[in-house]
């Protein structure tokens, strides 16, 4: 039988996440966290770890909950709905990399710390060329007697500063891309926060200068990093798409709520067709987009041949839809929507980052065109 819906358990997980985050992550917390040095909401982070969310998609044998990418996407959606700060998704990606390609020793060393929330992680792959392909990875890793020496710079690293563990994509030899686990505290690692418009996330630059790591830092085979990384980028795209869906749905709700109470010319502005039609157009874009997120998450686990295509479709669409929806939501609010005091700005700015993270809509549309052989 055709079944394209959430199971009872999945619905319960999403409901529980929504209730918890409504309580634990109000806009006041988002604003307060924005003023801290590392942008990490410590108590929220601890609660999420306690509930097992960090190991949501990790196998039970590794101490995780053994759930799938769809469940992860539902949590990301709820985090997007409240514009949650903190490096949840980056930590997920590094956890997924360890589960997929980590040696027994690497998994034993890092997974318990990651899953307990003690260690936060970040994926460092982009450089100043802003390329999401193997050619974009030029940070050099040279073999030494004890292991490797890394030299170069990574840009747009989400979750930095704040991450203790970095998964760094480097070039080994002329052709190969390899992945290295590097501690942010290692000698020669310099982390610099990047100023962005998004108040809810931290993005930084990571400079590696003569950073010496031993052999055990290599994740997977030498030169075998790209397939692992490509998979992480799809997962990241799905996570951000889900987050965008949650944010768009929330922005729409806020705009509709406001239109019902705000009076102009002696009646609620929501009774004007200009406002109604704007809201209806938002619904027509947001509501069906949910299916893209669900399918991309499902395909990631169960339809490997369609996973990249589905991830690109979801990321391209939700990138556009979130930005457009929150933009219209600001317009429906009028002047108050443009103020610092109004919370809508948190989502408006989050959408700016979501649109480009793990590839912007133009990138993913071209990738789809290539996959579908236009």
């Amino acid at each position: 039988m055709m079944d394209f819906g959430l199971s009872g358990d999945q619905e319960a997980l999403q409901r529980a996440a929504r209730e918890l985050l409504a309580r634990e992550c109000p806009p006041a917390l988002v604003r307060a966290t924005a003023k801290t040095a590392d942008g990490i909401p410590r108590s929220l982070q601890a609660k999420m770890a306690e509930l097992g969310w960090i190991g949501l998609a990790a196998p039970e044998a590794e101490g995780g909950l053994g759930l799938g990418t769809l469940e992860l996407a539902l949590v990301c959606e709820e985090l997007g709905r409240v514009a949650a700060p903190g490096p949840f998704l980056p930590t997920q990606l590094v956890t997924a990399a360890l589960v997929r390609a980590g040696s027994k020793a690497q998994r034993g060393r890092w997974l318990p710390r990651l899953l307990s929330g003690e260690t936060l992680a970040a994926l460092a792959y982009l450089e100043d060329t802003d390329r999401h392909d193997p050619a974009g990875i030029t940070l050099a890793a040279r073999r030494t007697r004890a292991g490797w020496q890394l030299d170069g710079a990574k840009l747009f690293v989400q979750g930095v500063p704040g991450a203790d563990l970095l998964l760094v994509a480097a070039r080994t030899g002329r052709e190969g891309v390899s992945l290295f686990l590097v501690e942010a505290a290692a000698p020669g690692v310099r982390v610099r926060p990047e100023e962005t418009v998004d108040l809810t996330r931290r993005v930084g630059e990571v400079r590696l200068r003569d950073v010496a790591v031993d052999r055990s830092a290599l994740l997977g085979r030498e030169g075998g990093g790209w397939p692992i990384l490509a998979r992480l980028l799809d997962l990241g795209a799905i996570g951000i798409a889900a987050d965008s869906f949650g944010g768009a749905a929330r922005a729409l709700e806020m705009a509709v709520e406001y239109s019902r109470v705000r009076q102009q010319f002696g009646r609620p502005i929501g009774s004007f067709q200009a406002i109604k039609h704007m809201a209806a157009e938002m619904v027509a874009e947001v509501e069906p987009a949910r299916s893209l997120v669900w399918y991309a998450a499902y395909a990631f686990d169960h339809r490997p041949g369609e996973a990249s295509r589905a991830a690109s479709i979801a990321k391209a669409r939700l990138g556009d839809v979130f930005s457009r929806t929150v933009n219209r939501a600001v317009q429906m609010h009028g002047g108050i929507g443009f103020t610092w005091e109004h919370d809508l700005q948190l989502w408006f700015k989050r959408a700016c980052w979501n649109e480009v993270a793990f590839g912007d809509p133009t990138f993913h549309r071209e990738r789809l065109a290539r996959i579908d052989r236009y």
Binding site: M2, V256, A280, A284, P288, W294, I313, R365, D372, Y374
Partner: protein
């Protein structure tokens, strides 16, 4: 507008019908008609034909030449095609989701209006993209010696505009979505 006669006006003058032809109860026709209209919206909002039309658009882009190569090599055309593909895929998957909801006995809400609004405009946009790819070949009539795809695209462009209007215009669907779906207040009655 298309030159076909399927669209018309029907006049009734002193038409007598037997009592047994009454559908449902007397004075209860609006509810029944509304249920039928929801089905009509879903029919107009079905993506089966849209998927097929989009595949024809891709084939057109691959064969029609622009600037010395297939149109599908042009980055702008590729973006356009991919965006349409994504919108088609959205409504296809959304139909699966709604079908699953229906099988589980959940109320569809204003889904039919969203389907109708989105899909009829998507159909029109696909035809519009074809005309742009066709350039000067676009407006050629089916009788023209140089016509492409037997002149189906300009016809489709017009026909799909009709379906944006028929079955309740896009503006009517937006009112339904806003008022019944979002619970936004009704418009003030003219004094």
């Amino acid at each position: 507008m298309t030159g076909d006669a399927g669209f018309n006006e029907v006049f009734f003058e002193d038409v007598r019908v037997p009592r047994r032809n009454l559908v449902g109860e007397l004075n209860n026709g609006w509810q029944i008609a509304n249920a039928t209209l929801a089905h009509e919206r879903n029919m107009l909002g079905s993506t089966t034909r849209t998927q097929e039309t989009f595949q024809r658009l891709v084939r057109l882009a691959q064969t029609q030449r622009r600037n010395g190569g297939p149109a599908s090599r042009d980055p702008v055309v590729r973006q356009r095609l991919a965006d349409l593909a994504i919108r088609v895929e959205t409504m296809k998957l959304e139909a699966y989701r709604q079908l699953t909801d229906a099988l589980r006995g959940r109320a569809p809400g204003i889904a039919a209006s969203v389907n109708k609004l989105v899909t009829t405009e998507l159909n029109h946009d696909i035809a519009r993209a074809a005309l742009e790819i066709l350039g000067s070949y676009g407006p050629l009539d089916r009788r023209s010696a140089h016509v492409r795809d037997r002149g189906v695209w300009p016809l489709d462009f017009m026909f799909s505009l009709g379906l944006i209007i028929g079955g309740g215009t896009s503006q009517i669907q937006k009112n339904i979505i806003a008022e019944r779906g979002l619970g936004m207040p009704k418009e003030a009655k003219p004094r």
